[in-house]
Symmetry: C2
């Protein structure tokens, strides 16, 4: 903002620019950071544009794909000097927009002319109008428009000169709306003002907005307890993942695991000879962040797995954890990238009194930061080269924001399909900053939001707060690090309710499986959130054939998501009133209003709960008195509702949720079936 | 914002700057415009300052009087990475502030050291701390601090080296809070980040925030109907104005009135020979905006009047109306400053089909705009030279915003005491823009806000909306242009209620008198707002001795304002619940919490209304069960209240308002009197 704080020096600026542009939206931190969209989205821009006095103001929205020519479209007035227009982003990458406004002499004249009564005034004004129209003709870049406008100007000028012309004739010609529309296409922009800033947009592929993640340890992919899982085993899991309806399959780090100070089972300090160690203790003599743990397979095996997954429209997501085991090659090659303790040893990760001796963090204040940034960028670049298009980034909040802004832009410039998920469970400002600097999606506090009040407040903030332009939530009911208390004590009803809310409240969600669908609920210690026998420190074998598996239930949820656009965006969520504190009700509607899903959840895992839910019929396009139908996408039940208040009852021991598509109109004749 | 949209080029920026500063407040349009304060105010600044990771962040507020050296003070943490500090503005003029933040290695070490348990760790960490403390000593600009810190560093280093030192001794010395406070005074700022913008403050004198205006036509100052009033007559009115308690006496334009197309009484198109014309039709052969109408007196008379007024602590405010009568000298000298019609004549003011043939507006798109701006600035400069310190600007919304921003800054640079009131009754964005570009005070919609709902919503917006930092309301129950319907039909109770609300809801208010205190209520036409026999077009003689004059009531209101700090600021207003739609209740509290005024208004001019008003006792510092006293500053009545709900009844035919000082504590022994 170069004009800030500056009293326009009279010698330099043009005092004749009378129009101002204020409060241009959307804008993240005044345009410092991009808003986020996916291909095909419309970016709707609003601004206050006005001038002094009574002259008519016009304005246009300008936009471009970075580096291309600017395009523009006239903005339409709303109320109170607010204007709006939109444009569609149809390519991946960086876009930008701004607003141009001007006092429009022709439109001002037209507005006044229409209101004139006195015959002499009309005649004088007609002559003025003829000059303005002639000027429009001179500016026209189309010969057709120029000819039309010149003829109009001549006609009006001649009528104004001829004393015999009546007021009616002058007004009829001067007020000609069709020719005025042509004149408006060639405005006088001599005193136009273009907002001095451009406002950036990051456009990603749809999966950045709408995705279902399945996290899974390749080390446990083998069905044989005696054998370490490998990428070929993972391939065999793909149909299972696909059947459940997930579209991102995310692996913890696949690199060599450090041997020095390796952790044993259940995070014990001493590893036994056959302990696999934590995949987040990255790096050993054979390689670091671009190497693959030998037990998992070769680079060729990995590439084949990525290809097979892609054939099923599944992205393989890698976990990027920028930290090193003590035997990572970089520790030897680049000791300057790490902090030293006073005794000369390298500082391991700690949060006193907690210590993580098997992990060395990078020092982002290293004098050699440039080389380090390039090396870290190289990790992304390597895996992009191997076909990876989704990265889950571990603890990004312990690395410099400026680094993320730089590296994400660099990787996107190389491959704009790449999606970045920020795994930062930390303070709200920090999580938002990471989203602003470029992460496509962000972990959330959903994992610990259980009550009706908590969930309502949190998702209202996520979907309606300022973060809605840049912070895309990806909600997880569990992770390998977090077995929340609700899952430890609530049993199957809570597992069902938590995954159903995740899948329907947020457009992106994920689970850590098979621990989730197999209802794993044993914590290492009472009061803690660590899993007992965590896969972080050992291989596990899972019996996916168990009768109590939630795989089928999850498949139904993901099918509902794929077939209902309302569930594919975070916008359009609103909570509904229901007169029971143990029940949560909400509706989501697609941007075009054509699809609405109504969800009701029993938050009490022990008792059947019931209540009266209130729908805002107006917002849903339901006429008073109209009967409408709710089709439960989980159970297949159909309900006929009418009026604002309807009764719902949910038994947690069967299905604690309704996920119901609203069918308020008879779309096809056989929709009558639903009323039977 | 030079960094907008830019991915830090790795070759240029310092990637080691890890701290970020967001959401710095207060800021008007991101710092584009100044916030407003008066001398003696504290500017309280908040910002989100945080870094990646767990290191300790520190930050400081920096500020300066424009052109002076920067000062700074440490900011204190609130919650959620929000920090706060304040500074006092003790001189008129332009100030600016910003925030500097950094990751603090010493404080990070101190935080970790305090939590360490393991003996080896403590010893290694103590050695690290000794190095950091020694570095603080090297940065210290005070020899005393440097010596103290060096001694501390040596002591800690020696203890750490000595294997015999116990953990307790190391921790005692390392955790020394007094010496740590000294170390914190010399932080390592190598990777500090200063917000790239400075945020401006305009500091004015107290009258910009707290003022009571009396508008009055000097032409009517004569008690002799046959003689035009003059400045000597005005002098004789000063004691009357002073007794009522006003501190700004505002005159409509005092310049020669145009003769060409002069308007007659009641806005008739033809003036009679003795008609005075509208003072807003400025300029005649003898002079324009810097001349004085001969009938009013000489420049010396004017200067004497200003001096007499100032002796009574009254400002004389002039009305600056930038428009010309057809015989204004500038019309001949600078025809380029005005728009031409197609017939070559100069365009008079109009809003078709309304015409104002006696007034030519300036053309702010004139090619000669630079000379015109300088000439208009010269008008202010002339009257500042004559001693004027307050200007009411007529219709500023029909002149370019850039001009106002330039001219107000120019005049303030000449004389920082000057106060500008914007008379713009127009669309909200326009009124706010004028306030942003520099007007000290702004007319409001109060004139037309009558019901409880309207007043509550409007004053909540004025005092709590974003405008609170720059838009200072000056509320008027009437003006020479506006006799609102409520005053035409409501009689004396409405006159009392409207002025009482004006005086207590807003820190600045005004009336057009003597029309107001003498209850003038006849409109020119039914359904219109023009006064019958308006002083805009003729001289009037007023009988100030009338028994029904509200002068005494107004004097009581202004006395209450002067003696109650709560009424001297727009902050601290909140509306109270009262269970009667015809009654309005609100409380104002001073910034220090020491003074609270509770007002209750009967909005019904016909009937006695009563209701139960609810006070938030907590907010007022009243203990549950405590009896508290309300002293009515209008009637002198005392009321003992207790509990949250108390009964109020108001008869509009006696006094339709309570303006009550809250006395919740016994301040002096004789406060007991009030309980009798």
């Amino acid at each position: 903002m170069s004009v800030r704080n500056e009293v326009h020096p009279i010698a330099l600026s043009d005092g004749r620019i009378r129009v101002v542009i204020e409060n241009l939206q959307p804008a993240v931190d005044g345009g410092r950071f991009p808003i986020k969209r996916v291909t095909g989205d419309e970016v709707v821009v609003e601004a206050d544009c006005f001038a002094d006095g009574h002259d008519v103001v016009a304005c246009s929205l300008k936009w471009r794909f970075a580096g291309s020519d600017w395009k523009s479209v006239p903005m339409e007035p709303l109320v109170n000097d607010r204007w709006r227009a939109g444009f569609v982003v149809d390519a991946l990458g960086s876009w930008e927009y701004t607003v141009c406004a001007w006092v429009d002499p022709f439109q001002s004249w037209r507005h006044d002319f229409a209101r004139r009564i006195d015959a002499d005034d009309v005649r004088v004004a007609a002559a003025s109008g003829a000059s303005l129209i002639a000027a429009c003709a001179d500016r026209a870049d189309s010969a057709l428009d120029a000819d039309l406008l010149r003829a109009w100007a001549r006609e009006l000028a001649q009528l104004a000169q001829d004393a015999a012309t009546g007021v009616d004739a002058l007004k009829r010609v001067g007020n000609d709306a069709a020719r005025a529309a042509v004149a408006c296409r060639h405005p006088d922009l001599r005193h136009a003002f273009t907002h001095p800033q451009t406002f950036p947009v990051t456009v990603e592929r749809e999966r950045a907005r709408f995705s279902a993640w399945y996290e899974f340890f390749p080390r446990s992919a083998s069905d044989d307890a005696g054998r370490h899982g490998n990428f070929a085993d993972c391939e065999a899991w793909l149909p299972y993942v696909k059947q459940m309806g997930f579209d991102v399959l995310y692996f913890p780090p696949i690199h060599p695991v450090g041997r020095s100070r390796r952790k044993g089972r259940n995070n014990s300090l001493e590893a036994k000879a056959d302990d696999a160690g934590s995949p987040w203790a990255i790096g050993a003599a054979e390689g670091g962040h671009t190497a693959i743990l030998a037990e998992l397979g070769t680079a060729a095996d990995f590439r084949r797995l990525v290809k097979r997954a892609n054939e099923l429209d599944i992205d393989i997501a890698l976990d990027i954890a920028f930290q090193c085991a003590p035997d990572h090659p970089w520790v030897l090659e680049h000791p300057d990238w790490f902090k030293k303790r006073a005794d000369g040893s390298i500082q391991y990760a700690e949060n006193p009194p907690k210590k993580y001796q098997d992990i060395y963090p990078f020092d982002f204040e290293s004098a050699d930061w440039r080389a380090m940034w390039l090396a870290l960028a190289g990790v992304f670049e390597h895996w992009v080269g191997e076909g990876v298009r989704v990265f889950r980034v571990d603890n990004p909040h312990t690395k410099a924001y400026a680094f993320w802004e730089w590296v994400i832009a660099r990787v996107r410039a190389l491959q704009p399909e790449v999606v970045f998920l920020s795994e930062a469970f930390t303070r709200p400002r920090v999580m938002h900053r990471l989203a602003k600097v470029g992460f496509s999606q962000s972990y959330t506090y959903y994992t610990w939001r259980n009550t009706k009040q908590e969930i309502t407040a949190y998702f209202t903030e996520l979907t309606q707060g300022p973060g809605r332009e840049y912070f895309r939530p990806n909600v997880w009911p569990n992770t390998p690090d977090i077995l929340p208390a609700a899952l430890q004590y609530g049993g199957r009803p809570v597992f069902m309710a938590r995954v159903a809310m995740a899948a329907t409240l947020a457009a992106s969600y994920g689970i850590y499986g098979p621990a989730y669908e197999l209802l794993e609920s044993q914590a290492l210690r009472a009061g803690g959130e660590e899993y007992l026998d965590s896969e972080k420190f050992e291989r596990r074998v899972w019996d996916r054939t168990r009768a109590d598996s939630l795989a089928g239930f999850i498949a139904v949820l993901n099918h509902a998501r794929r077939t209902n656009p309302a569930l594919q965006s975070d916008a359009g969520l609103r909570f509904l009133s229901i007169d029971n504190e143990q029940m949560l009700a909400y509706a989501k509607t697609s941007a075009d209003g054509a699809n609405t899903v109504v969800c009701v959840v029993n938050l009490d895992p022990h008792h059947t709960q019931s209540g009266w839910v209130e729908l805002e019929q107006d917002a849903l396009g339901i006429q008073p008195g109209q009967v409408y139908q709710l089709h439960d996408l989980v159970t297949g039940s159909h309900f006929l509702w009418h009026g604002a208040r309807n009764f719902v009852s949910l038994d947690p021991h069967t299905t604690p949720v309704h996920v119901m598509e609203l069918r308020s109109r008879l779309k096809r004749e056989n929709d009558f079936d639903y009323f039977l």
